[in-house]
């Protein structure tokens, strides 16, 4: 199987899944947009659900990479931790911003679909691990317990901010989260 074709499919599906949602995106739309044949798609992905998994992977890799680049431009210490939330401001301002794919995808699958639900959970766990590293790198003076505590807070604020900025179509939830975090960091 040519990598190119597979990547093209994932790229197209990702765009459509993120824009219109998983259930509202039809296989026909994906093959039309990516210019490949239907049977070709099915030779790369056995079912639509496989495509969904690839989409979740692709989006998360991209995010971790981008957010890592973003915060690396900031000075070590509190600034870099705050930068995690500040990253959401340009992210929100992107024309195609449509919230968090994980949160949105969970909303679209039945409660019984363990495969997708645990995939999403894993991705979020991985993201929390990333935040954990950010915290330990930039707050080495804190105890493990304190670090874990701060990580959880950072995580909740991040998730609340991205979800609510999406619903309200406004960046105030991001700004508020940043304020909460800064306040917190000042007092540790």
């Amino acid at each position: 199987m040519k990598r190119d074709t597979r990547d093209k499919i994932i790229e197209t599906a990702s765009e459509l899944f993120y824009r219109n949602g998983y259930n509202l995106t039809g296989i026909n739309e994906i093959i039309k947009e990516s210019g490949i044949a239907k049977a070709t798609l099915y030779s790369h992905f056995q079912t639509k659900e496989e495509l969904l998994l690839a989409y979740l992977d692709a989006k998360d890799s991209e995010l971790l990479s981008k957010i890592d680049s973003f915060i690396s431009t900031k000075p070590r210490g509190n600034d870099r931790i705050v930068a995690v939330l500040q990253f959401l401001l340009p992210f929100f301002n992107q024309e195609n911003f449509n919230g968090c794919w994980c949160i949105r995808t969970v909303a679209e699958v039945p409660r019984e679909n363990d495969r997708i639900r645990s995939k999403i959970k894993d991705n979020k766990v991985q993201f929390r691990k990333f935040l954990s590293d950010v915290v330990s790198d930039n707050k080495p003076e804190l105890s493990n317990q304190q670090q874990g505590y701060l990580t959880d807070q950072l995580y909740i604020l991040y998730e609340g901010a991205i979800t609510e900025s999406h619903i309200h179509a406004s960046d105030w939830p991001i700004v508020t989260s940043i304020d909460i975090l800064k306040d917190k960091l000042d007092r540790i």
Copy 2:
């Protein structure tokens, strides 16, 4: 139109929409479950989307009522504010807990569907207003600005907690949010 039938339809649709999502719940499932004829449903609701609006209304009314009852049992002051988040613990433990209907529904409608999206936004604005009242009732000593600030924080924490407890199938995000809030309240 008999109220009974209409209410039965909303009740059934709400259960199914909340469990399996809007797009995955077919009209056929709703009528089979509620034991009415298809045309009967359509004499009460012009489209499936009307049913969605009724669902969002019903769920939100119920929530506001329940959360209000819950916090009223707590002593005035910080306790009652914290109780807003504590409410999420039994809520999460309900067998049919499946996250926030608003957040999940936003994930299922096209970006262009202003009708639903603004409905959801309105519901969230109304919820924030409720929180605002809780804050002003229980922290009258704070300035307006400080009250608004606290409300936003409470809101973000609530939303982050409900979303993440759903994704992780665990109450730790709720507990964490409660901790963040308590910490905050101690320092004001």
Copy 3:
């Protein structure tokens, strides 16, 4: 049964059947437009088909009456015969002109529906009888055979004119039919 209600129903149904066709006009549209209850309609007309029969009757009575009035204003003789076709000019120019209800209704019922088809045929036979009277009144000098022959011609031209002016959305078929008829009358 009150006559008023029945007449109101027929009036409304006629307007809708003629404008949008029998099959495209729903019972719901008729009751909404006429402001009566559904069961009331069904107490006056056992089925939608009964309404169709009443519609065909009403339209034909009205037509015969109007066309009779129209030609009576013309001088006896050839002029009055030609007037039958000239009647179609103002008829065509009415805003709601939509062709011949009989011809259009035949198009909407299955071949097997003898009830409606023979009703329509009867109406047309009755119309031809009307034309026959016009011919014998205004061309008494012709033999019976010649009168019958002229009647048939008049009939074909009338039907061709109304149908084609409808299709072409133009009065040229009427004008042409008038020319053919005049030409004919000049030579008898």
Copy 4:
């Protein structure tokens, strides 16, 4: 797309549309009769209306071809012009004769449906052009104006004959139209 399938669909749909009318013919009936799956039909025709257009095209092509063959067997001159109407006699006697598809279809579509209505009008204009060629080929001695006049008459008589033979379930309207035409031709 395989031609065979498409042709089979058109063939079946044409038969059913012509026999029972467009609105009374359901997609389900078409697929059952043609033995294909519903989605197969919709891969060949985007909507039922597209199928209607194909039906109108197919019927008209067939007609023009058949009528052309028919009149070609007659001697040039008046005979060949009269043959246009004589063609209707065997046409009427076919077991499945059910009038003119154009006239019947106009009766079934809403007044606002410009797409279908102009299609039908175009078909009739094309048919009149065919008659115009017949006239100019067989009456070259007439002036252009006289040819146009004769064409219009031939057209009206043809349309009146096919419509009325359908309504009356009798060939007398055809015979009458032939007589009118012959009479006319004798006197030019």
